[in-house]
C-alpha cells in the first residue's frame, strides 16, 4: 500500500468531476420536488441521457450536440412521467419506478451498437492565467465546460427560487397546490414544466458520465447515481446551495475510494466500492431528523375538481 501515490490536488480536482453528474441530476430533481412532484425515475432519465448523449456525440463527432441530445432524451422520458402523474393521475412512486425500469430497458436496447466505442474527447477549458495558479489552478480552473455549467446552475436555481416571481409561484404550487390553483396558477402546467426541466438535467448528468467521466458506454452504467441524486435532495433540505455541498461530499467519497483501490489498500475492492452507497444511507440518517422542510404537497395528486 502506498498512500504517497494519492495526490491531494488531483484528488480535489477529480472530486469536482465526480460530483458533476449527481449535482446536475439532483438540481433538476430539486426543482421538481419544490413543485410538489416526487419523480423517482431519475436513474432511468440519467441512463437515457447517457446513451442519447453518447450515441449522438459518436455519430456527429460533437460532444456539444451530444449533451443537447441528452437533455432532450431525458426531458422526453420525463414527459412520460408527466403524462402519467399529471394527466392520468397515477401514483407518483409507482410511476417513477416504472420510469426507471423502462429507462434501463430502453437504454440497453438503444446502446447495443455502442459498446466498446470511444466517444469524441471533450476539451478542457484552459483558462490562461487562473489555470496556472499552483494548487488552486488545477482544482478549480482546469475543467471541462459542464463542471462550470453545473456550478452556474446551482447559482441560477438558488436565485430563481429565492428572488424571482417564477420561483415564488413554483414554491407555492409545491407547498399548497389547492391554494395555488385557487389563485389562478396553472398547477398542472407548472408541474409539467418542472418535470421536463428535471428530466433534461438528469439527462445531462447521465451524459456527463458516459461522455466525460468514464468515457464509454456500458449497460446500467449509472449504477445508482440517480438514486444518490434523490438522496442528495433530501440531504440538502431542498436547498440549491446544500445540493452542491452534498455532491462534493459524495464526489469526494467516490474519488477517495477509487484512489484507495489504486493505492492497493488491504481492503478488497468490493468492500471499498460499497462506500458511496453506505455514506448515502448514513447521510440520510443524519439529515432525516428534520422533515419540516419538505414541500408540503410533495407526492400528492392534484385534481382540480377536488
Amino acid at each position: 500500500m502506498d498512500f504517497g501515490s494519492i495526490n491531494p490536488v488531483l484528488l480535489l480536482a477529480s472530486l469536482m468531476v465526480a460530483a458533476t453528474p449527481i449535482l446536475l441530476a439532483a438540481l433538476g430533481e430539486l426543482v421538481v420536488e419544490r413543485a410538489g412532484v416526487l419523480n423517482l425515475g431519475v436513474e432511468g432519465m440519467m441512463i437515457i441521457g447517457a446513451i442519447c448523449g453518447f450515441a449522438v456525440a459518436v455519430n456527429t463527432g460533437s460532444p456539444v450536440l451530444g449533451f443537447v441530445a441528452a437533455a432532450g432524451g431525458g426531458a422526453l422520458l420525463s414527459l412520460l412521467f408527466a403524462l402519467l402523474t399529471q394527466f392520468a393521475l397515477a401514483n407518483q412512486v409507482a410511476s417513477g419506478l416504472a420510469l426507471t425500469l423502462f429507462g434501463l430497458g430502453l437504454s440497453a436496447l438503444l446502446g447495443q451498437g455502442y459498446v466498446g466505442i470511444k466517444p469524441p474527447p471533450v476539451g478542457k477549458l484552459d483558462i490562461p492565467l487562473l489555470g496556472d495558479i499552483p494548487v488552486l489552478g488545477p482544482i478549480l480552473f482546469s475543467h471541462d465546460l459542464m463542471v462550470y455549467f453545473g456550478l452556474g446552475l446551482v447559482l441560477a436555481i438558488w436565485a430563481m427560487l429565492k428572488y424571482t416571481r417564477a420561483g415564488l409561484v413554483l414554491r407555492a404550487v409545491g407547498e399548497n397546490h389547492d391554494a395555488a390553483h385557487a389563485l389562478g396558477y396553472k398547477v398542472v402546467r407548472i408541474r409539467v414544466l418542472a418535470i421536463l426541466f428535471g428530466g433534461a438535467c438528469a439527462g445531462l448528468g447521465g451524459a456527463y458520465i458516459s461522455l466525460i467521466r468514464v468515457p464509454q458506454w456500458t449497460e446500467g452504467m449509472t449504477a445508482g447515481a440517480g438514486w444518490i441524486a434523490l438522496a442528495l435532495v433530501v440531504f440538502a433540505s431542498w436547498k440549491a446551495g446544500r445540493v452542491l455541498l452534498g455532491a462534493w461530499i459524495f464526489g469526494g467519497v467516490t474519488v477517495l475510494q477509487l484512489n484507495l483501490q489504486a493505492a492497493g489498500i488491504a481492503i478488497p475492492v468490493e468492500y471499498l466500492s460499497m462506500s458511496p452507497y453506505l455514506i448515502t444511507i448514513l447521510v440520510l440518517v443524519i439529515m432525516s431528523a428534520d422533515r419540516s422542510r419538505a414541500p408540503a404537497s410533495l407526492g400528492r395528486i392534484f385534481h382540480a375538481s377536488q
Partner: protein, 361 residues
Amino acid sequence: MLRFEKRPQPSQVWTYLTPLLAVVITMIAGAALFAALGKDPVAAITTIFWEPLFGEFAFYYRPQLLIKGAPLVLIAIGLSLGFRAGIWNIGAEGQYIIGALTGAGVGLAFYPMESWVIFPLMVLAGALGGWIWAMIPAILKLRFGTNEILVSLMLVYVAEKLLAAMALGLMKNPEGMGFPGSRNLRQYESAHNAELITGSGMHWGVVAAMIAVIFAYILLNRHILGYHIRLTGQAPRAARFAGVNPARLVLFCLGTSGALAGLAGMFEVAGPAGQVSIDFNVGYGFTAIIVAFLGRLHPVGILLAGLLMALTYIGGELAQSNLGLPAAAIQLFQGMLLFFLLAVDVLTNYRIRLSRSEGVA
C-alpha cells in the same frame, strides 16, 4: 374536451379489466417495437406468449414457468403487503441476494456432511438473511425517519458488492481451479433444492410461493392485521384513530417482504442457479414490483401476474435464440407493461366525460 370525474368508489369492473387491457396494449406496443427492430411482430409475439406454452418444445418450457414464476410470486406477495399500506420496499433485489448468500452459506458450512437437517436450516437462514436486510430500512425509518425507498435501494447495491466479494472470496469453491463462484449446491445432495416431481419444475420454492399466496389471502381478508394494512393504505388518518400502530406495520411489512425475498433467493441458489456467482441475481426483485402492481396487490392476481411475467422471461429467451431479438427488448417490454398499467388505471378511479363547455371545476 375530455374531463376526469372522480368516482365515489373505485370501479369494480375496471379493477379487473385494467390489467388485461394493459397486457393487450403492451402486446400491441411491443409488436410495434419489434417491427421497428426489423423483426416480424406476429412471430415475435407468438414466440413469447404461445410457443413456451403450446409450441413444439412446450414440455421443456412449461416447468420453466414454475421455476421462473416462483421467485417472482414469492417476492411480489411480500411487496404487495407493504405497497398496500404505503410502505415502499424497493430493495427486494438486495434482500434476495442476501437470502441466497446466508442460505448458501449455511449449506456450504456443512459441506460435505450429509444430513436431512441441512436444507431446513438453509431455508431458515435464507429467510433470516432477507429479514435482517429489510430490517435495516425499517429500523432506520422508525428511529430516524429516513426514507425506506432510498435506503432499501442503496442496500441493493451494497448487496451486489457483497455478492461479488463472496463469490470471489469467502465462498469461492476451493476446488474450482481459481474460477469465481461457490461449490455447486446441486451436486451436494443435502443442500440441493431438487425437483419434487422430476420434470415438473416443482421445487420447494414453488411450494413456498403457493403457501405465501394462501397465507397472504387469509391475512388480508380474514385477519385484523391485514385489515389494518388495508386501512392504513386507504385512510391513514382513520387508521391512526382506529388504534393502528404504524411502527408495527412498518416492521411487519418490511420484515415479511424481506424474509420472502430472502427465501426466494435461497431456493434459487440451492436449485435452479446452483451456485453463488457474481451475476447470480437477474433482477427478479425489480420485476416483482411490476408483478405486484399487475396483480393489483391481490394474492391471486399476483399469482397470475407472476406466471405471465415468467412467460415473458421464457418467451423472451426463446425469441432471443430463435429470432435474434435483443435481451434488452424484453426488459423494455416488461417496463412498458407497468407504464400502460398505471396509465389505464385512471379508468378505475375516474370516469371520463366528454364536456362541451368548460364547467365550473
